[in-house]
């Protein structure tokens, strides 16, 4: 039994350390991941303890990072690559979409690509352009990839463990503005399935579904709604591909109402897919249309305006009210 309170950043660091320690084939690659420990210090101290051969500072070339990670995976390694910021993943998008996602199928299953691509994502840190985006739908849309995002320290630890053990490529979105949020991590437990949603607050009037950085906002909204006598259930989806529709369905069959919340633009976002599927599955249970709260169809705004763009407590509550008004 080992129960510890730690930040999401520390939980990721501990999980990566355990992965390096457990499996000699695990490698960490990325820009500044060595001595510096990454710009968010997620790999802090790992190169010192595991050496430059296993924690590898790479040239500043994202396509090269993912492309060489594919080659290392073909040689039997299990690379975990770090993309420094969400908006910098696009030079690697070609390698991820045309090669990483499809090579297993191209070989009719004869080879596997156990590569984890870590991407700190989302806004709320007052950054310059390209440092605050939420491109998860662009990856969830691609068959062959699995896309996950933890919202708390325990999930950060365990979902990373499971991602490293997965024989499929995993795009691992880390909620960067929550890196320093602390939570309890039980390092001895046997975790549930990686792609299963979690009910993080029970309720009976409406379901809020979110993932990553928005789970905290939804929990705050549910607490605020409670004061007005509304009972809100909050689901942490945890995985954007595949999505645990069964858990969402079960919740909506109970509450009759669903609001999906994410930072990414609403247009073609994961909320659209959830709304369509749940409408199909729960048509006779729904008391209101599935509503979505998210970013607008505009380039991510400058930092001084990001609070206007990001879904906050009030915008989530507004959607809750609109749903309950039906």
């Amino acid at each position: 039994m080992a129960l510890e309170k730690m930040s999401i950043a520390k939980a990721l660091n501990e999980s990566l350390r355990k992965a390096l320690d457990t499996d000699p084939k695990v490698l960490i690659m990325g820009e500044d991941v060595g001595k510096l420990g990454g710009v968010f210090r997620i790999t802090d101290g790992l190169q010192k303890d595991f050496g430059e051969d296993r924690v590898i500072d790479t040239p500043l070339a994202e396509s090269g990072i993912v492309g060489t990670a594919i080659g290392l995976a073909l040689r039997g390694y299990r690379p975990i690559v770090e993309i420094q910021f969400d908006g910098f993943v696009f030079p690697a998008y070609d390698q991820i979409v045309t090669q990483l996602a499809k090579m297993h199928a191209r070989a009719l299953g004869k080879i596997k690509l156990p590569v984890v691509v870590r991407i700190p994502y989302g806004g709320g840190i007052g950054a310059v352009e390209h440092h605050s985006e939420s491109p998860e739908a662009l990856f969830a849309h691609v068959a062959g990839l699995k896309v996950v995002s933890p919202s708390n320290a325990s999930d950060a630890y365990w979902m990373m463990q499971q991602a490293v053990q997965s024989d499929d490529p995993i795009i691992f979105f880390e909620p960067k503005r929550r890196y320093w949020d602390k939570g309890e991590v039980e390092t001895d437990l046997i975790p549930g399935p990686l792609h299963k949603a979690a009910t993080v607050r029970e309720g009976s009037d409406l379901t809020l579904a979110a993932y990553g950085p928005m789970v905290k906002v939804c929990l705050e909204a549910a607490a605020a709604a409670q004061e007005e006598g509304k009972s809100i259930e909050v689901l942490d989806l945890r995985s954007m591909s595949p999505i645990d529709f069964d858990s969402v369905q079960a919740s909506v069959e109970k509450t009759g109402r669903l609001v999906v919340v994410h930072e990414a633009p609403v247009f073609y976002g994961s909320g659209a897919e959830i709304a369509a599927r749940i409408t199909e599955r729960c048509f006779y249970h729904l008391e209101a249309p599935v509503l979505r709260v998210g970013g607008y169809h505009v380039p991510y705004p400058p930092a001084r305006l990001e609070d206007e763009y990001l879904p906050g407590l009030d915008r989530v509550l507004d959607a809750v009210d609109r749903s309950l008004a039906y």
């Binding site: 492309g67 060489t68 045309t98 999505i243």
Partner: protein, 382 residues
């Protein structure tokens, strides 16, 4: 053999070489050549090769059979049996020479045109045809012959080769990796990044660029202002230009580069100067963009003809050998033809196989829906 020489002659694309049997003495760029278009053995100061008669005949046989297979595939496309074919016609020496330089434990990352290299690796030619017929996207086990799947996105595989080579070095193995690509791919960012990564990590990889002068309709002049092999210098490793229609030179230069990689001295860029005698693929029409005279000038440098001339002059092969090889060629063509015609379409449910290694509930759901949809027709039929 060493690869320290980065000297190469400027290409003369439209003039037939008449005095090729000269060793370069000046600083004028020269391409490495050991067998002239006229079938004469010449020496090179940096590269030597000494092959038995059996080995020489083996290279000849490889090239002849590869060309026969290639011709059969083109014919099968014309007959509607294949959806597309990317012919290697004219590039046999570059592929057989480099392919025969490899050890079994070396690893190959090809484009979609390396049919000759696949032959050298022991990949059954019929395996290559599945993707061109449209029954799979490749499907062979890359680890059976250390020959990766054909990669269609231009230049992507150079990074995979580099990563694989980084893994070889980590394992402490003395294997080498070879990445094939073309003159068009040399413009891709991934190729530049693979040069950077392989150089800084000193990865045991050979970059084998078949400069066949054309990237579909664009001549090499549209890709580069310097000879391609010179690109290597800026990345900090040697580059060498070899006569890509000279199987002996391609073998010697590639072998030397592989040995350099094995010694832990890092990557080498080999530019095999050759010519795409056919169309880019069976969908292409080169009469729209290049002159017949150019092709004719390269016909005089044919890789197979020059080795045959040499074998005949040296009396290393007789008429009985050549006619037996002709028979073997026809048998190969027949075998390929029959195999392709007998190649069944996959079961329709196969589209759901192998999207994921660990499976996916979404794919499972869609598979079940599709199966139920198909089953509904069977019920109607009852």
């Amino acid at each position: 053999m060493t690869v320290e020489s980065t000297a190469a002659r400027k290409p003369r694309r439209s003039s037939k070489r008449t005095s090729a049997a000269k060793t370069p003495q000046s600083s004028e760029p020269e391409l490495v050549q050991l067998l002239t278009p006229e079938g004469e053995r010449v020496e090179h100061p940096d590269y030597t090769i000494d092959l038995t008669a059996d080995e020489l005949r083996g290279l000849y046989r490889d090239m002849v059979l590869t060309r026969r297979f290639d011709a059969e595939a083109t014919a099968l496309q014309r007959q509607g049996e294949l959806g597309l074919w990317a012919s290697l016609l004219g590039q046999e020496a570059a592929q057989i020479g480099s392919g025969r330089a490899l050890r079994d434990d070396d690893y190959v990352f090809p484009t979609y045109r390396e049919h000759g290299v696949a032959w050298c690796r022991g990949v059954d030619p019929t395996n290559l045809l599945g993707m061109f017929r449209g029954v799979n996207h490749g499907g062979w086990d890359p680890n059976s012959n250390n020959f990766h799947l054909y990669t269609i996105v231009i230049g992507s595989q150079t990074l995979h080769a580099t990563g694989y080579a980084m893994g070889v070095a980590k394992d402490g193995a003395d294997s080498a990796v070879i990445a094939y690509f073309g003159d068009g791919a040399s413009s891709q960012g991934d190729v530049a990044e693979s040069f950077t990564f392989s150089a800084v990590y000193n990865a045991p990889v050979v970059f084998f660029c078949q400069n066949n002068q054309w990237a579909i309709s664009e001549p090499t002049e549209r890709q580069t202002r310097v000879p391609l092999y010179q690109r290597a210098q800026g990345f900090g490793f040697p580059g060498v230009r070899v006569d890509g229609n000279d199987v002996l030179a391609c073998l010697a230069v590639t072998k030397s580069a592989l040995e350099r990689a094995r010694r832990g001295e890092g990557p080498t860029l080999v530019e095999a100067f050759t010519y795409r005698m056919g169309a880019h693929t069976t969908s292409d029409d080169p009469t729209k963009y290049r002159a017949d005279e150019e092709r004719a000038s390269w016909e005089a440098k044919d890789p197979i003809l020059r080795l045959r001339t040499y074998l005949e002059k040296q009396e290393l092969a007789d008429e009985a050998y050549f006619s037996a090889l002709d028979e073997e060629s026809e048998a190969l063509g027949k075998r390929v033809r029959e195999a392709v015609r007998a190649m069944p379409d996959p079961d329709r449910m196969a589209i759901f196989d192998h999207a994921y290694a660990d499976g996916s509930p979404l794919v499972d759901e869609e598979r079940a829906q599709f199966a139920a949809y198909q089953a509904s027709f069977a019920e109607e039929g009852n």
